[in-house]
Symmetry: C2
Subunit: 352 residues, 2 copies
């Protein structure tokens, strides 16, 4: 099984694209030097790199990554599996990640999962066809064992909430790299602030039912509340969206027994909570009901919300993800890498 | 210049990946049929396609697009050039486009431009290296002539505002395909509604100064206001962001002479306007000042804003973009294609 596929240079260079040889000849350097000039991870004298890039620009030459991918085994593509690009949290993540990856010579390839969190095998097979160098996924969208089976080289990166029970991927085998998010500090600061301002009946506005991020957040909240002598939270069923949070909040007060504080699984949900309290239920925030979110997205400082929230720092997160990608490319067979980040409370106007 | 590059099958099939030949043998079909089964644009008997895909799944086989790209000249990648993935408008567009493209067998490749709208040649050369089948860009981020020079095969798609003056790309040569957006209807309905509710001093909260979308919007507003006997709008200088809109609105009333209505270049700007009016200037919306936005992003129905706005329909836009991509791939040498979409006013609670 060593069949040879023959590809002619002319197929790689449609419409008279300049070749590396042409650049090498004009710049009076070797063909290898031209390759090195275009790879930011190889060393080359600055003036030599500058000359080569200048000549390449004159000749309108760039290396063809599709051709290079077959030889180097690198596609320079990083797949990101997301359920919802236009969720605020995801889009801010993708934006920052694309900027950071571009600086390292990679491009971001987006794959959308189904919104019911059941990423099917067809989509995984589809993604594999693009041969990404790395894949970033959330454990709730696709399981590590399933994903690993569908990737030839890429080692996926998962975002984990380690205090939570993650029964079916508890193994420590190097199937994937991890970004661990410690929720305790932020959640504990949030509950302490609510207690400090006299909250007694704290409700949890949940994210999507099947979401592991949601499950981990609720478990951490219950644990911290129990430790601090509070009764377990009433749960209002949301799905991370504004509209579901809006309706759930109305139900909590009109059908249920209400609450004097609401901890929302994400900031967008907290916006729905605040708008339902103020515009539908005619309650004041924070005087009648205190609200805390989770994420600290860019919209949380908008004056209509001015949300007190648990921050999972975007810049730190992106830097950690890029470090994981680069480490894995450098040492493809190393055991699973881990990075760990913390959360903290950002105090604004919805508690107090 | 017909140098041959030899690639062995083993390099394409790392870690024992199944080959198309193995699938063909097991399914008792030809190698060509296996290829056809994975291409949604070729005809094949449904039961035959189903059998092949079933066998392929059993063998854990998927075609390698990197290898196929060299032979077919297609990368199945669609590049999207955006200044800001996390802007609400862009992220909703990317989300819908990724879903639609995935259904057609393509993946979305993101490229970020500089926020000063000066996409430099280095980034274009970088993008070319990924050999996209198509590229979607906004004319304000990169000029058609510049972009065309950097692509080998892909014909870029531009979003145009045809009533505006676009001096440096006025030519009709088939350098690119176009999605034309007619702003007149929506802007005229907006101004008529403001007039109908007695507005006399209408201000324009601008987008980024160098943005052509902003320029086209302002010119259309001036034209419509002149036709309807209104004095030209006072311009408050924003940049499409919430924060700039917030500050510009405060300046408009504290330093300038205020206004009884504000037309914002985009919805996020309108949110900044509303929050500055209510929370800083203690003015009522819509009683004291009426506000209209542009886009109708998903957040515009949120109760804190409940924004009256000019809608540029997202689903229509994405369907038109996908049609342009598929038409161009089918007939690569056809003259420039065009699709045209209209805008309309969506009336909510910020005028009246």
């Amino acid at each position: 099984m060593n069949r040879r596929i023959v590809v002619t240079e002319s197929e790689q260079a449609p419409r008279g694209r300049a070749t590396a040889e042409m650049v090498a000849a004009r710049a009076k350097v070797s063909r290898v030097a031209v390759s090195r000039a275009f790879n930011p991870h190889t060393s080359l004298k600055p003036e030599k790199r500058e000359l080569i890039l200048k000549v390449a620009q004159e000749l309108n030459y760039t290396p063809d990554r599709a051709a290079r991918a077959l030889v180097s085994g690198r596609s320079h593509l990083v797949g990101v599996i997301v359920p919802d690009v236009c969720s605020h949290w995801e889009s801010q993540e993708i934006d920052a990640l694309t900027t950071a990856l571009q600086a390292e010579g990679f491009a971001t390839l987006l794959f959308k999962t189904r919104t019911d969190y059941s990423m099917d095998e067809q989509l995984l097979a589809y993604m594999r066809g693009f041969n990404p160098d790395s894949v970033i996924a959330f454990v709730e969208n696709v399981k590590p064992h399933t994903l690993a089976r569908f990737l030839d080289r890429a080692v996926p990166i998962y975002i984990h909430y380690p205090q939570a029970e993650l029964a079916d991927d508890a193994g420590d085998e190097p199937l994937h790299d991890r970004l661990n998010v410690l929720q305790r500090d932020g959640v504990e600061q949030a509950v302490a602030l609510l207690q400090g301002f006299g909250a007694k009946r704290i409700a949890y506005l949940s994210g999507a039912e099947k979401s592991r991020a949601n499950g981990a957040r609720e478990r951490m909240l219950r644990q911290v509340m129990a430790e601090r002598g509070l009764a377990p939270p009433v749960v209002a069923g949301g799905d991370f969206s504004y509209d579901a949070a809006y309706q759930a909040t109305i139900d909590l007060f009109r059908v249920g027994e209400g609450a004097d504080a609401i901890f929302a699984a994400n900031d967008v949900g907290a916006f729905g909570v605040i708008d339902a309290l103020r515009h539908e239920l005619k309650l004041r925030v924070p005087e009648d009901v205190k609200v805390i979110g989770f994420d600290d997205i860019a919209q949380s400082h908008w004056k209509s919300y001015n949300l007190t929230t648990v921050k999972f720092d975007l810049d730190e997160r992106v830097r950690a993800l890029v470090r994981l990608i680069l480490r894995r490319l450098t040492t493809p067979d190393a055991p699973g890498f881990q990075e760990t980040l913390n959360t903290r409370l950002v105090v604004r106007g919805t508690v107090g």
